[in-house]
């Protein structure tokens, strides 16, 4: 039974997408990436302080030669930048009032997150597929 003060159409109610027309997609993806980041980020910090504080770049390359380390790092980077983009987006939407500044920053946020993800994943792949006998 529809409440008498509900001004939304039946179609709007059944779609359940709300005023932003995106439903809970943003909110849900923020949580999914947060849950995924718990093990991935804990793994990264543990690995970083035990294996990668060396000034010797070869040690870093050897570490990324492992398929497990490489794939976990790629997963971390992809999820981390997805999570960062969603989080920074909300901060911009909350505090930046001028539409010109707001949409410029939102665009910059998206571009930076995709660029960072692409660059860092490419670097991990290069380190992983590096032929140690000829390079470095």
């Amino acid at each position: 039974m529809m409440a008498t003060n509900d001004l939304r159409s039946r179609l709007s109610r059944v779609k359940g997408l709300g005023a932003a027309h995106h439903g809970v997609q943003h909110w849900w993806l923020q949580r999914v990436t947060a849950v995924a980041l718990l093990p991935l980020s804990a793994w990264f910090v543990t690995s970083f302080i035990t294996a990668m504080l060396s000034s010797n770049v070869v040690k870093v390359a050897i570490w990324f030669a492992s398929p497990l380390n490489a794939i976990l790092m790629v997963m971390l980077l992809a999820v981390m930048f997805a999570h960062a983009r969603l989080g920074v987006q909300v901060v911009i939407e909350d505090y930046v009032k001028s539409p010109a500044a707001k949409y410029s920053l939102l665009l910059a946020n998206t571009f930076i997150c995709f660029a960072f993800a692409g660059l860092s994943i490419l670097a991990v792949l290069k380190l992983h597929f590096l032929d140690m006998s000829t390079s470095i």
């Binding site: 949580r31 390359a61 930048f81 960062a84 991990v124 380190l127």
Partner: protein, 136 residues
Amino acid sequence: MQSDIKAVLRPTSPHLSIYRRQISSVLSITHRLTGLALFVGTGLIVLWLVVAAYAPAHYTTLHSSLHSGFGQICMLGWTLAFYYHFANGIRHLFWDIGKGFTLPVMHRSGWTVIVFTLLMTAVTWFIAYTSTGTLS
């Protein structure tokens, strides 16, 4: 009747400058601030990977600048920000499933986050400085 309404000059809220700080609001804004700080920190992860993969000759420069006084202060800040955002993020996930909303539980979980952050930062830096050979 109308004069009565005009006479009531209640203070509007919140006046952030005079409003007494509470653990709930301080931890809430700290979650955002640490999120933004970590976003800046992801830039360093990108730089670290790109230098290791594409400019290995400059890796020692990056390594030594991170071991300068300023570099170490930044790393300490990011360690604190990481553990805070990690622990408080778990707190948020519990709220998302409807748990831990009562004031005593919320205060206890808040203090737990603070203690966890300080403790894990200390443990992490202890391991980083004592694990053999990694800082050479």
